[in-house]
């Protein structure tokens, strides 16, 4: 390169030399003067210098421009780098290291692409910033209410485009995005909540939401997320929730009255079923009510309409109800043995109600109040009433025992005789306890009366009076018994006298079997003889015995009448004085007092008063004799036979009415009674089934309480439990039931 330039210079010098030489020649030819020649040469030289200088200036200017350009480029590069947060060092280093070898142009050439590159990077970065900021802005716009968004308009700071700054912005953006999604979720939750509330309340969800912000109705993502909107939404939810609670209470009040009305009027289940979904929400809390439209005004009105319909129905049925309630009151009164005191007042009230003067509901309330009062009173009376019940039962047993003791055929060992025996034994024990029971009861009643300050009334009669009456009755009976004993003694003497005079006579009237028996004196007859004599008695067929009973109906009847009298007296009406000819004897005390061999005499006592005339033939007394003999016979037999013939308690008397069968009497003192008791029960015992040969016996419990609901519809189609529960209705035969 340099040699080339040198060649060029030498060539220029050579050309100049040739020019000068040519000029010398021309000048020589022309004969130019030396001055002219010098002037021309000077001119030439000046012109040449001028040309060189001009060129040099030009080149110099070019270099300066180049330098300026490089400086500019470097400055720009530095600015970009600093803006980008990068170090511009390496460019400088590159240039300094190559300073000597590299010309300005190459330097510029190396810088220019760098600048280009940096510019591009900067542009990209800037775009990133713009993008991030745009997003931030848009989110801010969504989140913030419009008025606050204008103030903080975001601008890009050109001088700081560093990645750090970008990251900062991106963090901001992320935070904002998080905030946005949070709000979206909240918004969605609230909207859902609002929606379900609106559904339950039957409100127009869209309308409510539109009032808060129109954007909420639209589809996803475009919803206004500003705090105020969310707050408004929250307020709306609160309001609607309050409305819901209000309506819920309203509905529950309605349901309560509905249930009351149903209960009052025995509304059929089918009718109730329609409101099942409402009634089941009776005790539900606010958030448990989720069924659509259940709290809508329409629905509430619907339920209210049903309530008012039932109210109307109730009003029309009120009288019926009042009467029903009254019946209920009466039943309760009967059960508690209380006489409703203001009965007439109630009657009047009902009459007034019929004429419309009194509100039926008022009467109903009154009756209910009365029922409550009686129930309350019953509570305090309960203990005594139970005792009274026991006493009554004991009295009944006493009566039964008297009746039983009067039964001439009671020693016949028939089916179920052991049961009657057992009952008699129990009854005797019970009767012995009676006086103590009455005393205890009386003291209880006195305490109660002192406590309450009123008389204890039992079925309209003061209980104490009843008890006292009973005591008097008992004393009279005692007296009577004594008198009879005396009489009997007298009778015995008479008898003995008569026998001594005429000898014993058979009884032709009552029992032909008795003919076979020789008359035996009670005291002295040997047991053996007796048992021999009465053997045929045992073989007497039962119908014959029944006949015997039938022959003497009038005496039986009188006894029965007396018993009824007695019972009536016990019931509290003591107007009638006890008849002096009372024959109801307490066999227990007699039997207990007399030795067993003499018990026959005791038996006789009962028959004694049957005599109409003091000196009528003995025959009318004889029916007792076979019986008397029978006792002993039975006794003996029992003693002998007990082991061979154990009584079978498991045998169920499906067809044995206990009354008809005469039974063997068990003496209080006879130890054999224990043979009847069932064996003690081991942990697992097999019990024979209570069987019957098919077809089952007709003698069956006629009352089946547990089945009453089932049997009540008999005559219509029968239904099983499952069919009832599933509300299954036979389609063809009873379409009416399907309603």
């Amino acid at each position: 390169m340099l040699t080339c330039q040198r060649n060029m210079l030498s060539r220029i010098e050579a050309a100049l030399g040739s020019f000068l030489h040519e000029l010398q020649i021309i000048w020589g030819e022309v004969g130019e003067s030396d001055d002219e020649r010098d002037r021309m040469l000077l001119e030439l030289e000046q012109e040449c210098v001028e040309v060189y200088r001009r060129k040099l200036d030009e080149v110099n200017r070019g270099r300066a421009q180049l330098r300026q350009a490089i400086a500019d480029a470097e400055a720009e590069l530095a600015a970009i780098c600093s803006a980008m947060g990068e170090k511009p060092v390496h460019i400088r280093q590159v240039r300094q290291s190559d300073q000597n070898s590299e010309s300005l142009k190459t330097e510029l050439r190396t810088i220019l692409p760098l600048i280009e590159e940096m510019r591009k990077i900067k542009f990209d970065r800037k775009n990133q910033f713009i993008e991030v900021l745009r997003q931030i802005q848009s989110i801010k716009n969504e989140i913030c209410t419009p008025d606050c968004s204008a103030s903080n308009e975001l601008a890009i700071d050109e001088t700081d485009l560093s990645t750090k700054k970008l990251e900062e912005w991106q963090r901001d953006l992320q935070a904002l995005q998080k905030e946005k999604s949070k709000r979206q979720k909240m918004m969605l939750d609230r909207l859902n909540c609002l929606y379900s509330l609106c559904m339950v309340l039957g409100l127009d969800f869209k309308k409510i939401v539109n009032q808060i912000h129109p954007s909420l109705v639209e589809a996803e993502d475009s919803k206004n997320l500003s705090s105020s909107t969310i707050d408004q939404l929250g307020n709306a939810i609160q309001e609607i929730r309050e409305l819901k609670i209000e309506r819920m209470q309203q509905l529950q009040d309605l349901v309560t009255s509905l249930l009351e009305l149903w209960n009052l009027m025995d509304t059929p289940v089918e009718e109730q079923q329609i409101f099942q979904r409402v009634t089941c929400k009776l005790a539900a809390s606010e958030d448990e009510i989720t069924e659509p439209n259940i709290l809508s005004i329409d629905h509430i009105n619907y339920v209210a309409a049903e309530v008012s319909r039932l109210e109307e129905l109730k009003a029309s049925k009120m009288k019926e109800l009042v009467l029903k309630k009254k019946a209920e009151l009466e039943v309760i009164c009967r059960k508690t043995h209380l006489i409703p005191d203001a009965d007439s007042a109630l009657e009047m009230a009902i009459n007034d109600m019929e004429s419309g003067a009194v509100d039926a509901a008022h009467v109903l309330d009154e009756i209910e109040l009365k029922i409550a009062k009686i129930k309350e009173e019953d509570l305090s009376r309960k203990e005594i009433l139970e005792k009274v019940e026991k006493w009554m039962v004991a009295c009944e047993e006493e009566c039964w025992l008297e009746e039983y003791n009067r039964d001439d055929n009671r020693y016949n060992a028939g089916r179920g005789a052991h049961l009657t025996l057992k009952r008699a034994e129990k009854a005797r024990a019970l009767v012995n306890k009676l006086p103590a029971m009455v005393d205890a009861l009386a003291s209880k009643v006195i305490t109660w009366e002192n406590w309450k300050g009123t008389e204890f009334i039992y079925d309209g009669v003061r209980l104490l009076t009843m008890l006292e009456g009973y005591k008097v009755l008992r004393q009279e009976k005692e007296l009577q018994r004594k008198r009879q004993r005396d009489q009997k003694k007298l009778q015995g003497q008479l008898l003995a006298e008569q026998e001594a005079l005429y000898g014993s006579k058979p009884s032709p009237l009552k029992n032909p079997n008795a003919n076979k028996n020789p008359r035996l004196s009670y005291g002295g007859a040997s047991k053996r003889k007796l048992s021999l004599g009465t053997t045929p008695m045992l073989q007497t067929p039962r119908p014959g015995m029944h006949h015997t009973v039938g022959v003497t109906p009038n005496t039986r009847n009188t006894k029965k009448n007396e018993r009824i009298n007695q019972v009536r007296r016990k019931d509290g009406r003591f107007s009638a004085p006890p008849s002096s000819g009372r024959r109801g004897l307490d066999m227990v005390s007699l039997a207990a007092k007399q030795p067993s061999s003499n018990s026959t005499k005791a038996r006789e006592v009962t028959t004694l008063p049957m005599m109409r005339k003091p000196f009528s033939p003995i025959s009318c007394m004889t029916p007792s004799k076979p019986d008397a003999a029978n006792i002993l016979e039975h006794h003996n037999k029992k003693l002998k036979e007990t082991p061979q013939k154990p009584l079978t308690i498991n045998q169920t008397p499906l067809s044995t009415p206990p009354k008809i069968i005469s039974t063997a009497e068990e003496e209080n003192r006879t130890p054999q009674a224990t043979t009847i008791t069932p064996p003690s029960t081991p942990p697992i015992i097999s019990v024979p089934m209570k069987t019957a040969i098919t077809p089952a016996s007709v003698l069956k419990a006629t009352v089946i309480p547990a089945l009453s609901t089932i049997t009540s519809v008999e005559g219509e189609t029968e239904y099983s439990f499952e069919e009832r529960r599933a509300r299954f209705v036979v389609p063809r035969s009873h379409p009416s039931l399907a309603v």
């Binding site: 289940v269 697992i684 097999s686 019990v687 024979p688 089934m689 209570k690 069987t691 019957a692 040969i693 098919t694 077809p695 089952a696 069956k700 419990a701 009352v703 089946i704 309480p705 547990a706 089945l707 609901t709 089932i710 189609t717 029968e718 239904y719 099983s720 439990f721 499952e722 069919e723 009832r724 529960r725 599933a726 299954f728 036979v730």
Partner: protein, 348 residues
């Protein structure tokens, strides 16, 4: 409020083992798998549930295994003889086949015009028999859509028992129709129930010589098919408490000893031996009725469901207090082994 027996308020006086997570409404039927100790119960809450019952020594415990749902209350259930599949039918008028062992979804295999009250799998014929309140009995081959045979009944089907070749169907109006399954298309015999009240449950004798029938009036009839054996027929009372009479809800023969158990609305269950006419054991009354019961395949477990059976109508049902329990009782030998007084059974 229902008061049962007035005396017992204890729901589990016999200290039986309670089955875990029982149905939420009354149990309508129960059956044990013929192969293993799996118990299936259907209930009025539309569910069919399955438990595995595990015995360790003298204790049993149960683990709920699986369940399916019907659209309506379920009334009856039965296992296939291989113990792989359960059939269940009810108020949705269809029978679902539930392949329990394969875990597949239930498939509808039978349809009626009214709720299906009873069903049974007859392994000897490879047929399913279903009885419904639509007064028909239908036989189903599981591979076909339509029934292989429809048997008209005089009334709605209330009870059914199968002991091949004997099948007895109890319907309303106290009809009992006896079928010889060797000729299922004709009635073998039709008798009026020896009991005077509605038929509630049936159980065929293990020797197929007759059947037991229980009625709503607390009575069980023992009925022999052969007229020559009619002298051995008798009825007996049970599930009564004084004057209160309760329905007999379930009759189950013990699979080994051939004694039987009765369960009733009074909440008690008893074990009986019909041959010696003895009650072997009377269990304590629960506070609620026993609606159904079942023995497992070897008779070592007796499952019974204590819940309201609608015997006192809807008015005595309080859904908020009504609870359903399934208990497992392990009968001792003395309770279920007949007394040695034999010689009258198994004669043709």
């Amino acid at each position: 409020m229902a008061t049962f027996g007035a005396t017992s308020t204890n729901v589990n006086p016999n200290r039986s083992t309670e089955v875990a997570s029982p149905p939420s409404d009354s149990v309508s039927s129960m059956s044990f798998s013929p192969k293993a100790n799996y118990l299936v119960a259907t209930s009025w809450d539309n569910q069919v549930r399955c438990w595995e019952v595990m015995k360790s020594g003298t204790t049993v415990n149960s683990v709920p295994k699986a369940s399916i749902t019907h659209d309506q209350p379920v009334l009856c259930s039965a296992w296939k003889d291989d113990g792989t599949t359960v059939f269940s039918g009810g108020c949705d008028k269809q029978v679902k086949m539930w392949p329990l062992s394969s875990g597949g979804p239930p498939v509808t295999v039978a349809m009626h015009d009214s709720p299906v009250k009873e069903l049974a799998w007859i392994p000897e014929m490879n047929l399913l028999v279903t009885g419904s309140w639509d007064k028909t009995l239908r036989y189903w081959d599981l591979r076909q859509q339509s029934p292989t045979w429809v048997q008209q009944l005089p009334e709605r089907c209330y009870a059914l028992t199968v002991k091949y070749p004997l099948m007895v169907v109890g319907t309303a109006d106290r009809n009992l129709i006896v079928f010889n399954l060797q000729n299922p298309q004709s009635e073998f015999k039709r008798v009026v129930s020896p009991l005077k009240y509605q038929t509630r449950c049936l159980a065929a004798f293990p020797d197929q010589q007759g059947f037991l029938v229980g009625s709503i009036e607390g009575r069980v009839g023992v009925h022999h098919l052969d007229d020559a054996q009619s002298s051995k027929n008798f009825t007996f009372k049970c599930h009564r408490d004084g004057n209160d009479i309760y329905s007999v809800n379930s009759l189950n023969f013990h699979p080994v000893h051939h004694t039987f158990a009765t369960a009733g609305s009074d909440g008690a269950f008893n074990f009986w031996d019909k041959d010696s006419k003895q009650r072997l054991k009377a269990m304590q009354r629960c506070s609620q009725p026993i609606t159904c019961s079942a023995f497992n395949n070897d008779g070592s477990i007796y499952a019974y469901a204590v819940c309201y059976d609608w015997s006192k109508g809807a008015e005595n049902h309080n859904p908020s207090t009504a609870k359903t329990y399934i208990y497992l009782h392990q009968p001792q030998d003395a309770e279920v082994k007949g007394k040695p007084r034999t010689g009258t059974t198994g004669r043709k």
